[in-house]
């Protein structure tokens, strides 16, 4: 699931399905997402660090995965397509 601004930027649907070879990790999901939508490069992971941008968070199966390593393997419910990886913009003013 993508936040609204990234959907608009990429011209993507709210929910995007990507094929990812095992082991399925957030990093690999983002690789596949950026392959399909190159304009998303740099918007979720910082170009210089390769890490999650600080105002974004990742949620998986109702758990906060924001601070997990990007190469940590996601639960089967996500890799089998039953649950989404949620990419969410942190709520902040402005």
């Amino acid at each position: 699931m993508l936040p609204q601004h990234l959907r608009t930027l990429a011209g993507a649907d709210p929910e995007v399905r990507v094929e990812v070879a095992a082991p399925v990790t957030i990093g690999r999901v983002l690789d596949a997402l950026e392959e399909r939508y190159p304009t998303l490069r740099g918007t979720i992971r910082d170009y210089s660090t390769g890490q999650r941008r600080p105002f974004l968070r990742f949620f998986v199966c109702e758990e906060d995965w924001s601070h997990e390593l990007l190469d940590a393997e996601l639960p089967k419910a996500v890799s089998e397509g039953r649950e989404p990886l949620l990419i969410i913009g942190a709520i902040a003013g402005g």
Partner: protein, 371 residues
């Protein structure tokens, strides 16, 4: 018949305002990139339908957008701004070393001779160049590495490279300005740079006449006289007659010489415009009266221009890139405010009227004269 197109960057999107040469009836298009901060948009002097826009947020970082049809449609181009080598440190607000970190593009300056070449001034301060219409960006690292970088500090808005001036006569010469480092010049197309801050006096820094460290807010030039530069510093309006080698203060009778925006009349190289702002701690006009001040003598002697501008209860700011002029016979002057107004004068500042009143806070205004 001639027409004008005003490119407006705001805190929540971009707008394109267009009118014929009479500049009476305006068409407003936008918002483009709604919800994103648009620090700057600017058109190519070679191909006026080629526009570049800097789109960013703290959430999703930097995007660069390009239009090839005068702002009707847009598409993202390259957004990777990688510093050359290990970027090192600059000074933080408290004087401690702080690593260089790319945050956003403040200013886009298209080449005077090639529509596919464009320069980007970024925060943390550096200069990038694209020669393929924005797809790939390469740092002109001679600026950041020339030696004084570790002494540069951020201004209140960040450590930004906000001004890029391309010399219309000498293609190897350009000027840039950084808050808070100062002004710099290259005479070899960006390979090497020198600080050009002699004559600047900044009481707020440990050495008021230091080679670098000055909070330069904006610099402008008239294309017919490229060795003459005008600067709005944090405090002080300054002038150089020798390509920045030496500066002298020309604040004269201004009611306050703090401000951000400064521009030059399109046909009169000694006619300047500034918007005096009360102080660095109160970013609004004195006594709630919004006034543009004009000098027709290249500085020192200034007159207020108030017709059509609010003269009570007005507490807006006008940012450094939010003033521009057109090149029609009777020069038009435009500026945008933090209150979302874009004011236009079709008679060189004698009178003003708002094109729009209720946009998001305006960050930049650029004008294209078409036809």
């Amino acid at each position: 018949m001639s027409s004008v197109r005003v490119l407006v960057g705001t805190k929540k999107g971009a707008f394109v305002l267009s009118a014929d040469g009479k500049r009476k009836d305006w068409k407003v298009s936008g918002p483009f990139f709604a919800g994103w901060e648009i620090y700057h948009l600017k058109g190519s002097p070679v191909d006026p339908n080629r526009l570049y826009a800097s789109q960013s947020t703290s959430w999703f970082g930097q995007i660069v957008q390009r239009s090839d049809d005068g702002g009707v449609t847009w598409a993202p181009v390259g957004n990777k701004f990688a510093y050359e080598g290990v970027p090192g440190t600059h000074q933080w607000y408290d004087g401690t070393p702080h690593p260089w970190e790319f945050k956003r593009v403040w200013h886009l300056e298209p080449s005077l001779t090639d529509a596919d070449t464009v320069y980007a001034g970024v925060e943390d301060a550096a200069l990038f160049k694209s020669t393929d219409a924005g797809w790939n960006w390469e740092e002109l690292a001679g600026l950041r590495k020339h030696g004084t970088g570790p002494h540069w500090q951020p201004g209140a808005g960040g450590m930004c490279l906000h001004t890029i001036i391309l010399d219309p006569v000498d293609p190897a010469r350009m000027y840039i300005a950084i808050s808070a480092a100062g002004a710099f010049r290259t005479d070899d197309a960006g390979a090497s740079w020198k600080p050009i801050n002699k004559g600047l006096v900044s009481a707020q820094i440990p050495d008021p006449t230091a080679e670098v460290g000055h909070c330069v807010h904006h610099v402008t030039m008239h294309s017919a006289r490229p060795d003459v530069l005008f600067m709005q510093k944090h405090w002080d309006v300054m002038r150089s007659d020798d390509a920045g080698e030496n500066w002298r203060e020309v604040s004269g009778n201004l009611p306050t010489d703090f401000g951000f925006a400064i521009d030059v009349h399109a046909h009169e190289p000694d006619t300047l415009y500034v918007v005096p702002i009360k102080s660095d701690s109160e970013h609004f006009p004195i006594e709630g009266k919004l006034q543009v001040w004009r000098s027709r003598t290249g500085g020192n002697e200034w007159e207020p221009l108030t017709a059509g501008l609010p003269q009570q209860n007005c507490y807006v700011n006008v940012l450094r890139d939010a003033m521009s002029v057109d090149t029609l016979d009777e020069c038009g002057v435009y500026f945008g405010t933090s209150g979302g107004q874009v004011y236009a004068s079709s008679n060189a500042g004698e009178s003003w009227s708002p094109i729009v009143r209720d946009l998001p806070a305006v960050m930049s205004v650029e004008v294209q004269t078409l036809g």
